[in-house]
């Protein structure tokens, strides 16, 4: 049998001049567990893109799972597609991998693309979620999960299609110890089944897990051998922490009192009490999804709590968000660091002095005039932290500041934090690393998971999700659209009454609570009221009812007001009820299935439908990105939400380019994920949600026909 991966004299260059990978020859036998380590910029990421059949080398021969992807004859595209179908690749940014609207739909994406039968997809999904400990979240929207949980979903998705080769880039960066253990055991299970595993990482402790370690340096293999035996148990528990483990202190400089935060009806934090005293270095740890990042936002005043309060005696709180490099927005490093000090109203000289001081402190002086976009991830991280430190906060909050950094940059950052603490800065740092706690903390806080996570019988979704529609989405979508159009045919009181009955039937079918209905309708009220009032005063025919001054109301006007406002209220109620039980993703599926005939005419129906569902998935991602950019600007004294229109317009303009650049990067990573996860036009996709018309669907169609007949009938009756 051929090797899993074979590289022979492979080189890669981005610009045709400097080789990022130089003459690499490497054979990975099937079934091996290989770890590739190396500092930032050593060519690790480039190599991982070659191994996972995403990119082509500049020269050499590349063979993956017996498919010759690249040789003297150039790129063999068919071989690329075959190789991708047989391997899985998890990149460092799990959120960019996510395609599905729920966790289980996401995990099902690759099996669907590879043409698994629906029942096989279902059991693969079940199995993969079980292995990663994510079964309780199978109906959750992945966007509502924490970074660590999303990582586990990405790994579940990678396992679902039973790959022969599994490539993971820094898989444990944001994952807690318990999840790490469960992921490791599922990787071991895969390995014992003969799956080849390649992990790309910065960390020696991860390398210890495998059979072979390759160290990359400046684009060459500098070492190839067995791993050192670093059998470190990293699990965090109170007994293993040498410093006090307690949530609160006396005389805090920053305290959360009975803090509760709910988002989209889901409680993220419940009655949390934590505090930090001046001069402490406190670490905050806890399993994925305990609301650590949310707590950081709340403590820094960037979010408002649902209940409870944050008491701060700090002069200025600095907040370094998770992956802060995503919030860089200025063009050059110097400009980005200067943003905060400039907003403090410092003179140009003082701003320059601070920028120089911070750059020196973090060792990035030589980068000051480079564009932010060209830096490596580690360098961007340091720039973002410098931007916060340049504000000279007395309290600094950091959310997993070292995740994804190589050991070298990590060590530099930790020593910077140590020095800041010695200079008297109060620091609160979120971390999953026992080593960090031991090295830096003067006190440790361990957060408990929220109550629902402790009780396996309750999934977090129970509280918020209505029963999903049991109708065939095609029937429900078609009937609903026709009902919406029929509303415009209602003219008489009897017809309008009939429409009200139909809307009522929708509300009952959707099991939507009146309070939910009212909240979801909030966008429509003004429009409905305007329609009513406009027609009320505009129609002047009929008998006069009231007249004062220029205002004159007639009976025909009142009826027109009721009718036109009523029609729109019906439209809104029907649309909101249906969206309550039929998520947009399933409507998209239904429309795709209904348009199946166009596929035979050569229309790219599946591509368009995928595009639509992806664009719906982008909405929360992009809005969250823009919002965190705004938050990052505000934390550094920016003024997007305040000030005169001109000031705000200027700030908004400053956001357009970085927002768009971020969006493009998401699109790029998403396209990689699509390729890896088996999407290509030639493949025949088999949706795992089987759509079948049943008795209830035909009853729905019949009910609509009766409604339409009654509306038409009443139309003729009104003439009699």
């Amino acid at each position: 049998m051929s090797a899993a991966v074979e590289l022979s004299h492979v080189s890669f260059s981005y610009d045709g001049e400097r080789d990022v990978l130089q003459d690499i020859s490497l054979t990975v036998p099937r079934g091996q567990w290989l770890t590739i380590v190396g500092a930032n910029g050593s060519g690790k990421s480039t190599l991982s893109r070659l191994l996972s059949a995403v990119s082509a080398p500049t020269s050499g021969t590349l063979t993956v799972l017996g498919n010759t992807l690249f040789d003297a004859g150039g790129v063999h595209r068919d071989a690329y597609i075959r190789a991708r179908h047989a391997l899985s690749y998890v990149t460092q940014n799990p959120e960019d991998h996510i395609v599905g609207a729920t966790v289980k739909d996401d995990v099902a994406f690759e099996p669907e693309n590879l043409g698994f039968a629906p029942c096989d997809t279902a059991s693969a999904v079940q199995h993969a979620l079980g292995q990663t400990g994510m079964l309780t979240f199978s109906d959750t929207d992945p966007q509502h999960l924490s970074g660590g949980q999303q990582q586990r979903v990405a790994i579940a998705s990678a396992l679902a299609a039973s790959p022969d080769l599994l490539i993971l880039d820094e898989p444990f960066a944001y994952v807690d110890v318990a999840a790490r253990r469960s992921i490791l055991s599922s990787l071991s299970a895969q390995h014992s089944r003969g799956v080849t595993i390649i992990i790309i990482t910065h960390h020696e402790s991860v390398a210890a897990l495998g059979e072979r370690v390759i160290t990359l340096g400046e684009g060459r293999i500098v070492h190839d051998g067995k791993p050192h035996d670093v059998s470190a148990d990293e699990s965090i528990s109170a007994e293993r922490i040498p410093v006090p483990v307690q949530n609160e202190v006396a005389q805090p400089v920053l305290a959360a009192k009975n803090l509760t935060y709910a988002y989209d009806g889901r409680s993220v934090l419940e009655n949390v009490n934590v505090s930090v005293a001046r001069g402490e270095f406190v670490t905050l740890s806890g399993p994925n999804g305990t609301g650590k990042s949310t707590l950081a936002y709340l403590l820094a005043g960037a979010f408002q709590p649902t209940s409870g309060s944050v008491i701060s005696h700090a002069e200025r709180i600095g907040l370094v968000l998770q992956k802060p490099e995503k919030q860089l927005f200025a063009e050059s490093v110097r400009e980005d660091i200067a943003f905060g000090p400039r907003n403090l109203g410092l003179s140009a000289d003082e701003v320059d002095a601070r920028v120089a001081q911070m750059a020196e402190f973090l060792g990035i002086t030589d980068l000051l005039d480079s564009p932010v976009w060209n830096l490596s991830g580690g360098q961007q991280r340091l720039v973002a932290i410098a931007g916060t430190l340049a504000m000279k906060p007395d309290v600094l909050i950091l959310d997993e500041p070292t995740a994804g950094l190589d050991t070298h940059v990590e060590a530099r950052l930790l020593s910077v934090l140590e020095a800041l603490h010695e200079q008297g800065m109060t620091i609160l740092m979120i971390t999953h690393s026992l080593a960090h706690i031991r090295q830096l903390a003067t006190r440790a806080i361990l957060l408990e998971p929220p109550s629902y996570a402790a009780d396996p019988s309750v999934t977090p979704e129970d509280a918020v999700t209505a029963p999903l529609s049991r109708f065939d989405p095609r029937a429900l979508t078609t009937v609903t659209l026709l009902t919406l159009f029929t509303s415009f045919a209602l003219h008489t009181p009897a017809q309008l009454g009939l429409g009200v009955l139909v809307a009522l039937a929708y509300v009952l079918l959707a099991h939507i609570r009146p309070s939910e209905l009212v909240t979801e309708l909030h966008g429509f009220w003004i429009f409905i009221a305007f329609m009513g009032l406009f027609n009320l005063f505009f129609v002047q025919s009929g008998a006069e009812l009231v007249q004062f001054g220029p205002v004159r109301l007639t009976d025909a006007g009142v009826w027109a007001g009721v009718l036109y406002a009523g029609r729109f209220a019906l439209l809104a109620v029907v649309a909101v009820s249906v969206l309550h039980i039929l998520p947009p993703a399933r409507i998209t599926d239904a429309v795709e299935s209904l348009c199946g005939g166009l596929k035979r005419l050569g229309w790219p129906v599946h591509e368009l439908s995928l595009m639509m569902s992806l664009s719906l998935r982008f909405i929360p991602i992009l809005t969250r990105d823009v919002r965190s950019l705004i938050t990052a600007q505000e934390l550094r004294g920016g003024t997007i939400r305040h000030g005169s229109l001109a000031v705000r317009a200027r700030s908004a303009q400053a956001l357009i380019v970085p927002s768009f650049a971020n969006a493009l990067r998401h699109a790029d990573k998403l396209s990689v994920a699509l390729d890896i996860r088996g999407f290509d036009s030639s493949a025949t996709r088999v949706p795992w949600r089987v759509m079948r018309m049943t008795g209830r669907d035909w009853a729905l169609v019949a009910a609509f026909v009766v409604y339409l007949a009654a509306v038409v009938g009443l139309y003729f009756v009104s003439f009699v």
Partner: protein, 191 residues
């Protein structure tokens, strides 16, 4: 987007991801509704047409068709006729314009195509308003016709002018980003 290493079909994953991204931007902006015409507060300005036009300039008329249609679909579900009208107006604004620009990719070509788009947009918007207003307001056809000169025409002219102004302002930075983006994609030798 040309890709030096790939011999891929039209529907590459990159194309799908980037069109999806533009569709998202258009959907988000289409829900930003600003009344710009004091005489008729019920006529709202939404900036989504700009995104579609930019996409049409960058990727051609077919991209404009796809993004116009997909980004109006959510509206069809909440306001069927309004959603369809919106779709037709954006199509009229972006598709012929993108087509003309794809034939003449010069500064003059860009201006001519934008003017063409604006004129077609105004005609379509007014024509469809005549058709649709009776569905929303209990007004006779003649009353709507009477609204053309004082309300519909100035509103739609204003809308087209704002669209074009913002497009001109955003064109350089956005296409610059798109260019460096596709350059970096071909440099990374995606297959």
């Amino acid at each position: 987007m040309s890709n030096s290493t790939s011999t891929s079909t039209y529907w590459s994953s990159q194309r799908i991801a980037i069109y999806a991204l533009f569709t998202t931007l258009a959907i988000v902006l289409s829900f930003v509704q600003i009344p710009i015409f004091p005489a008729a507060p019920f006529l709202k300005y939404d900036p989504s047409g700009i995104v579609v036009l930019l996409a049409g300039f960058a990727y051609g008329p077919l991209a404009a068709v796809i993004i116009s249609v997909l980004s109006s679909l959510p509206h069809v579900f909440t306001d069927p006729f309004g959603g369809l009208i919106m779709m037709l107006c954006i199509l009229a604004f972006s598709v012929p314009s993108a087509w003309l620009y794809s034939k003449r990719r010069t500064r003059i070509g860009a201006f001519a195509s934008m003017i063409l788009g604006a004129v077609l947009f105004i005609i379509t918007a007014i024509g469809l308003n005549l058709l649709i207003t009776p569905f929303y307001y209990a007004t006779p056809f003649s009353a709507v016709v009477a609204m053309i000169l004082p309300i519909l025409l100035p509103f739609n002219v204003m809308k087209a002018v704002i669209h074009l102004l913002i497009t001109v302002l955003c064109y350089k930075p956005i296409t610059g980003l798109l260019k460096s983006f596709s350059a970096s994609q071909s440099a990374s030798r995606r297959v």
